[in-house]
Amino acid sequence: MQGDSSSQVLTVRLADLTRARTRRGLSSLPSLWLLGPSVFIALAMLVPVAYLALRSAGASDSAWELLFRARTAWTLGRTALLAVSVTGVAVLLAVPLAWLTARSDLPWRRFWGVVSVLPLVIPSYVSAFLVVSALGPRGLLQQMLEPLGVERLPEIYGLPGATLALGLLTYPYVLLTVRGAMENLDASLEQSARSLGYGPWRAFWHVTLPQLRPAIAAGALLVALYTLSDFGAVSLMRYETFTWSIYQQYQSAFDRSVAAVLSLALVAMATAILVLESRSRGRMKYYRSGSGASRRAGVTRLGRWRWPAAAFCGIVASLALALPVAILGYWLARGIAAGEALSPLWSEARNSLYGSVLAALVAAALAVPAAALLVRHPGKLSRGLEFTSYVGYALPGVVVALALVFFGANYARPVYQSIWLLVFAYVVLFFPVALSAVRSAMVQINPRLEEAARGLGLSPPKVMARVTFPLLRPGVLAGAALVFLVAMKELPATIILGPLGFATLATAIWSASSEAFFARAAAPGLLLILLSSVPMAFLVVRLRSPEGTRT
């Protein structure tokens, strides 16, 4: 009973579980301490959906008619188109960047390794706004080119602009998962392909890439779902998606049930994407079962492609990171030059950090048992849990926030208008980010290690504490850092759910830029980017250091 039949063993476990629950067995897997937190998180994720269902049930017929109008189908098509194009751009940017920074002799490889991930820290409303101000009509680029007689630039509003802004922001999701997978690939697989007569490119295409497929799919899932929920970029790019329609309904119409009905359609779309992703995952086994040290892949020499490759990294980094930072800096300087008073942002910064750190800790802590359940006990139950956990992520922040206002005001008075309800919202919104990071670390842990620990007398919670968690730590840290990052940027939930007078950097940027005080938005924007970059850079460096990888 070796090798391929072990997956069979795992699938059979769930049958064991259902049988064991009816007996008085001493141990039944998965135990309550795995199931409890997982069920809690699934229920939390379902709060917004339940709210939407409740609202939709009370919706008038006209609201439902709206859903079946031609315009809704048109919006649906545009949303799907954007999701596909953004995901495509993200994958096309991320896979070469991952390979270059993980496996080649790119000049300043470590530097690019850190920088290529950092665009994740830039909020979409900032990025889109900067793309417009730089590349839009009468923008910086045009102003610079005006002396040269350039009157008009190509239109950047609409699909191209939204795709560019979102693609540049979200490709790091794919980059992180793919690079992690690449660093853990067994080099002997690629080497055997080479010895079977495959050139380096064909070996990558036929052996490495199929192995990266689950990682690409996991990152692409986050990108696609994020695109569904994004409001900042699409509104500034004037590209109408479902989320935009939902916002407009909330802002303009009395009838919130219309927005609820539209949101349910968004949930359906997210479900379709989830089904696609789980289909692509297949039945592969990812942990290495061989003995001894794993063979790390060597560095591929780029030869004369070294400098073009570095230029590629440079272009992506300057568009996604350097340009926004430079423009913010330029505005800040211009504002100071114009005598703008620089108000200290201590309390905003502290509030941002406080809420985001709490959210990161809670999400990462819940992601550990949930990932253990998903990986060690696959089956209908865990798939259901996973599905629901992604739903919150696909919903726009405003929908989740309003659902929680309703929930908090009616059922959870003590936490209503406290930081805890806001943290709860962050967790609902961003849990899958933590989960996917922890899960990809989990699948690489050989289950024999846990069995060995149990054979040596440790109970399941102790096995988790002494074996699983230490091995999982890089994944947990990565998950927490990512949640921290996205929570720092989150705007609608913060505005709606924050305690009274709870100003964060994100809300400071928003209030300044909505009043068109660009110079005043620059300072909190730069501070937000700086504060988010520090843990991110630390994480990337640490995870890649010899101490972190123990090679």
Binding site: Q2, V12, G25, S291, G292, R448, L449, L456, S459, R550
Partner: protein, 352 residues
């Protein structure tokens, strides 16, 4: 002394329609080494996992020192069984040093006890001074010894080894085999190990159990297992063998290689058609221009020459001769029994 350390009574386990382990019963005595021999996929690893408590039994009981640990109604978790298991891929904790791996199972011990036991175990597995290394800094044989040391450190009532030497190269394998056997015997630890390598099973074990298609077909001492396998399948699993067709005539069987004394575990009637089990060492090959056999091919093994002798019916018999045998391919020969013990005969089934 004779109390069973581990006892399986009618243990069964199936995955959906596939019966992985089927009504397995045996008892392991104190200090005994039992090997379970079988081809891959026969259910031997599942049997170990059932004993260790990583899988639940569908039927039957597993008892450890008389206490029921597995039955369809009860299931003691692995951590409460005091059974040590060494995994095929060792499952060393990559984030812990050798020393931390070894003391991993010693949780209730005091620091002093733990240190003493660590020194003792490292000496036992000959890894003194290696305590600070990480598993990936060790060779395959050293990793194996760490795995064994980690398993032995908490003094388990029994040790289970899953294909313990399959990840080692041939020269290291025989060395580790001796070392591990010596170590386990010295500790008087009751041991079960599974393997598909019959040489390994015979060399290390007090008793060998042959497992085929989920069933433990026969448990016997290595010698008895080799000499009198109860079924032709067991015979084929335990060593090189050929079958000579024949007919029972009194206390002899008439075959193309002469009239041979026979024995059987079952009843064989006068005139019954049988297959006689022939091991490679059972016949001497003698050149004889009038003999009914012919040397069909030769296989030089260094320490022996294996001649394949074809008989008139087309049946071939492999015969191991001294390495200096000069008999060329095509030589007419006769076969003469080289043993005085009777041959094992099996009633011929319809298809064989």
């Amino acid at each position: 002394m004779n109390e069973a350390v581990v006892e399986c009574i009618g243990v069964s386990k199936s995955y959906g329609p596939v019966a992985a382990v089927c009504e397995v019963s045996f008892a392991l005595r104190q200090g005994e080494i039992l090997s379970i021999l079988g081809p891959s996929g026969c259910g031997k690893t599942t049997l170990l996992r059932l004993i260790a408590g990583f899988e639940r039994v569908d039927a039957g009981e597993v008892r450890v020192q008389g206490r029921v640990v597995s039955s369809p109604r009860t299931h003691a978790p692995p951590e409460r069984r005091h059974i040590g298991m060494v995994f095929q891929d060792y499952a060393l904790f990559p984030h812990l040093t050798v020393a931390q791996n070894v003391v991993f199972g010693l949780r209730s011990a005091s620091d002093a006890e733990r240190r003493a036991r660590l020194d003792e175990v490292l000496r036992l597995v000959r890894l003194e001074g290696m305590g600070g290394r990480y598993p990936h800094e060790l060779s395959g044989g050293q990793q194996q010894r760490v795995a064994l040391g980690r398993t032995l450190a908490p003094r388990p009532v029994t040790v289970l080894l899953d294909e313990p030497f399959s990840n080692l190269d041939a020269s290291l394998r025989s060395q580790m085999r001796q070392e591990v056997q010596h170590l386990l015997r010295g500790q008087r630890t009751a041991t079960i190990f599974v393997t598909h390598d019959r040489e390994e099973a015979f060399a290390m074990a007090d008793r060998v159990g042959v497992m085929l298609n989920g069933r433990l077909v026969q448990v016997d001492t290595p010698g008895a297992m080799y000499r009198s396998p109860t079924t032709p399948e067991v015979a084929a699993t335990t060593g090189v063998c050929d079958f000579l067709p024949g007919v029972v005539e009194g206390e002899r069987v008439a075959t193309e290689a002469g009239r041979l004394l026979w024995t059987s575990t079952g009843h064989l009637a006068q005139g019954a058609a049988v297959n006689v089990l022939v091991r490679a060492d059972d016949f001497l090959v003698m050149p004889n221009p009038h003999g009914n056999g012919v040397v069909a091919s030769r296989e030089y093994r260094g320490d022996a020459m294996v001649l394949v002798v074809r008989l008139p019916s087309g049946t071939t018999v492999r015969c191991r001769q001294g390495p200096y045998s000069e008999l060329a391919t095509g030589t007419q020969v006769t076969l003469a029994p080289s043993r005085v013990q009777p041959f094992v005969a099996y009633a011929k089934t319809r298809d064989g």
